[in-house]
């Protein structure tokens, strides 16, 4: 996108008022990560509390662990993903790499879970792709914002 030649909201220019911190690819990626974490956590809770809702019995899954194990994986993974999203906003140096890895692992887990909740898992794989695209294709702006620190108030 050629109109993003200058990062939106990361360049401290003296000729215009600094946009607030609630703009830019960092915030988008962080919100998407947080949403992904919430979705995983809900899936984990459903697996732990009421696994009759899923479409297949445990043996129908690609990785046939029982739903309690899957539930804990989703729940703890979701919390980790949400924390990674928050770290992205906090400006942690490794946050982008950790978030890309988290999205990657989330996609693999969702694909393995696909028979149990097909539409939901497909949505989460789509969300993972969006996160990876935002962090990598627009990573330069995020990195620049991290290096420049918070905008002057």
């Amino acid at each position: 996108m050629s109109k993003h030649a200058e990062p939106a909201g990361a360049t401290p220019a003296s000729s215009y008022e600094q946009p607030s911190k609630w703009v830019g690819w960092i915030v988008f990626a962080a919100i998407m990560m947080f949403m992904l974490g919430c979705f995983h956590a809900i899936q984990g809770l459903v697996a732990l509390l009421d696994d009759q809702k899923f479409l297949v019995a445990v043996s129908g899954l690609v990785v046939s662990a029982d739903y309690a194990a899957w539930g804990w994986v989703h729940l703890i993974g979701g919390i980790i993903v949400a924390l990674a999203g928050v770290s992205l906003l906090a400006g942690w140096l490794w946050a982008r790499i950790v978030c890309v890895l988290a999205a990657f692992l989330s996609a693999i887990v969702s694909i393995s879970f696909l028979e149990a909740a097909p539409i939901w898992s497909a949505i989460m794989v789509g969300l993972d792709i969006i996160i990876i695209w935002a962090l990598i294709a627009h990573g330069a702006e995020i990195k620049q914002a991290d290096m420049m620190g918070p905008p002057p108030r």
Partner: protein, 143 residues
């Protein structure tokens, strides 16, 4: 991107409107649409619960359809109000819009088995609204 408040430079695409209202108006309209969809789903749950794909204990968040109906209806109205407020482009309106889109996505996941296709479309619309507000929200600052 609109680095100056003056006329847009030749570098910007033809989709940009001087003043930056385009993307925030887009996000506002989509958010109002999302809220309307939620309200319609809420009314359907309250008035015609047989039209859904599954019984209400099969939802990902299992509440009965009456509860879900009120949650969707009132939540939908709140999202519509948030979308209308977003037309102003102020910072608080953008934050409220982000929270509304996020809550709408979580609610759509909980309601997913009842209306699978509709819930998926609404989650996609939520992501688009969040993208429009976060990536293009800066353009409203000079307006």
């Amino acid at each position: 991107m609109s680095l100056t408040a003056g006329p847009h430079s030749s570098r910007e695409s033809t989709f940009d409107v001087p003043g930056g209202y385009a993307w925030i108006s887009f996000a506002s309209l989509i958010l109002i649409l999302i809220g309307s969809f939620h309200a319609i789903q809420g009314l359907a749950a309250l008035l015609n619960a047989d039209s859904f794909e599954v019984a209400d204990d099969r939802l990902w968040v299992p509440a009965d359809y009456t509860t879900w109906g009120w949650v969707q209806l009132i939540g939908g109205i709140i999202v519509v109000v948030a979308g209308a407020a977003l037309f102003t482009g102020r910072l608080w309106a953008r934050i409220v819009g982000l929270v509304a889109a996020f809550a709408s996505a979580i609610a759509s996941i909980g309601f997913l088995p009842a209306y699978p296709l509709c819930s998926t479309i609404m989650i996609a619309m939520d992501i688009i609204v969040i993208w429009a507000i976060t990536i293009h929200g800066a353009e409203m600052k000079e307006a």
